[in-house]
């Protein structure tokens, strides 16, 4: 076991760095730039039962220290992901990959998860009950403990692989939703998804995004992520994948001290396509600076 390695729900990761769903596609664009096998894993583009075209453009807006997106879960649907994308991923990534799943009903979640669960290369299901950019389903499942638990039960009934539940920060009490997910059988949690936000163009006097609202990500949300991972760590005993505004090795250490076992990197991949290899290279130096022998030992170290 290397000093960067961590164990996420029974699967050993060489390091805790996982590009987040939605910023990494199916890995192709990044595989042209570096060897994806240096990553802990990656979470591929959110998958739904049926194909989705996503929202109209503009889907992207900027803000100080971050960005808003309202892509709206554009994806070719689970059948095409399994037929076309997973075989392509197998050529460029040789470790268990994380399958991110969204749905609009309990049945859709279960059917999509069952299909992906049966794929050998899938290591974990990351069940997104927190997308802010779709008008039914999506985030609405993640804002109440009861509906979150219902999704987890539906998915756990069909899945053999570890189920991570991706939580929204757009709630009053994230610990309550986290606890409900754990009680319903979740094997782990991932947080935070993006923060519901809006920008308005003074020239047109209308929202910049065609969808009106979008999800805020980037360094602006890191302190929110740290706070929520810290709160959830106190409330549950299952592993947490922390994310939100991570852009350097120091941010990784901070989220792990808050309670994260692994760390997803999102928006930073869009502005610096080499950010993940840079973080992985920086980690040993930062560990030396803070006298950390192995990353696994600092998980939850701030409590």
């Amino acid at each position: 076991m290397g000093k960067l390695s961590v164990n996420l729900c029974g699967i050993e990761l060489d390091n805790p760095i996982i590009p987040a769903s939605g910023v990494f596609g199916y890995g192709r664009e990044f595989a042209a730039l570096y060897d994806l096998d240096i990553l802990g894993s990656f979470s591929f583009k959110g998958t739904t039962l049926h194909p989705r075209e996503g929202n109209p453009t503009p889907r992207i807006a900027e803000c100080p220290a971050g960005m808003l997106n309202a892509v709206g879960l554009q994806n070719p649907g689970v059948a095409a992901v399994i037929a076309r994308e997973l075989p392509e991923i197998a050529k460029i990534f040789h470790k268990p990959v994380m399958a991110n799943v969204s749905g609009f009903s309990l049945e859709e979640y279960a059917e999509t998860c069952a299909a992906l669960d049966a794929q050998d290369q899938v290591g974990w299901l990351e069940v997104n009950i927190s997308c802010p950019n779709v008008h039914q389903g999506g985030m609405s499942f993640g804002t109440e403990p009861e509906s979150a638990a219902a999704v987890v039960k539906a998915v756990k009934a069909v899945a053999k692989k570890p189920v991570l539940v991706k939580l929204t920060p757009n709630v009053t009490d994230i610990a309550a939703v986290a606890k409900a997910a754990e009680d319903a059988g979740a094997d782990g949690l991932s947080l935070i998804n993006t923060v519901l936000a809006m920008r308005i163009d003074p020239r047109t006097r209308r929202p910049v995004l065609a969808n009106g609202t979008g999800g805020l990500s980037g360094p602006a949300v890191l302190p929110i992520a740290v706070r929520m991972v810290y709160q959830v760590y106190e409330a549950v005993s299952i592993p947490i994948v922390g994310m939100g505004g991570v852009s350097c090795a120091r941010d990784v250490i901070e989220l792990m001290l808050a309670g994260a076992t692994a760390v997803e990197v999102g928006a930073a991949n869009l502005t610096d396509p080499f950010v993940c290899p840079k973080i992985i290279k920086e980690l040993p130096k930062i560990m030396e600076e803070y006298r950390i022998e192995s990353l696994a030992e600092i998980i939850g170290g701030a409590h």
Partner: protein, 245 residues
């Protein structure tokens, strides 16, 4: 695509709002007309996509319009500063299918990528006609540069203060062309689509997240499904686009 550190050799105003930025430094990959770069600006989270106007072995020439805070900041950066650049983005124009008499039509800040295209087409011994459209004479740039390349040029201004009065579509009469390459605002592209039957390639603009195909931030519906303007485009064949939108 490659990530480069390039030094500003020139950053000068061509009109009150349009600037020419020349970046200097080494790079490896070959570039194509119609591609774009993404510039990282200090303090701005997202990169700025800017189309490639011209290039040689160790220079990139970009022409950009000041439209917001990022481009305003860029316009105030002086020679000697260096910029983090992602270069070689997008597909670019396909020059193999243009025939012997390509027609290039550009409007406003859509004109710069057509300069590099014009240069390449002329180097392929093609007879190039160019229509450049501006709002008014104070906004005109690069007309002399296109003429110096040896292109046949037609100039229009919406207010008639220079060249032919009207829009680029008003200058189409009498032109015998084999192919159309266009870049400009969407209303201009739509008007061109209505005004001519030529086979063509149209370069689109969209707000982007990454600029290299990862985030789906700039996806648009087409006749061949959702396409990423940054990676599958920005240049699309005419018959692929959904013109009724």
């Amino acid at each position: 695509m490659e990530q480069l550190r390039l030094v500003i050799a020139e950053n000068s105003a061509l009109t009150p709002w349009v600037y020419r930025l020349v970046l200097e430094g080494e790079r490896k990959e070959t570039l194509r007309p119609g591609q774009f770069v993404e510039l990282a600006l200090p303090g701005r989270f997202l990169r700025r996509p800017i189309s490639l106007c011209d290039w040689d072995a160790n220079h990139l020439t970009l022409i950009y319009k000041v439209v917001g805070q990022g481009t305003d900041q860029l316009s105030r950066m002086r020679p000697g500063h260096s910029l983090d650049v992602l270069a070689g983005l997008g597909n670019g124009y396909d020059t193999a299918c243009t025939g012997a008499h390509p027609l290039l039509v550009g409007g406003g800040v859509g004109i710069p990528p057509l300069y590099g295209l014009c240069k390449q087409l002329i180097s392929e011994n093609k007879e190039v006609t160019v229509i450049l459209g501006f709002n008014t004479k104070d906004e005109i740039f690069y007309v002399n540069e296109f003429e110096a390349l040896g292109a046949r040029l037609r100039l229009t201004t919406a207010d008639g203060s220079a060249g032919q009065k009207g829009f680029v579509t008003d200058a189409l009469a009498g032109i015998e062309a084999s192919h159309l390459c266009a870049c400009g605002p969407m209303p201009m592209l739509r008007a061109l689509n209505r005004a001519t039957d030529l086979p063509g390639q149209f370069s689109l603009e969209e707000r982007m997240g990454c600029g290299f195909g990862a985030c789906m931030g700039c996806s648009i519906p087409t006749r061949e499904g959702q396409k990423r303007v940054c990676k599958d485009g920005p240049v699309f064949r005419r018959e692929v686009l959904l013109w009724e939108n």
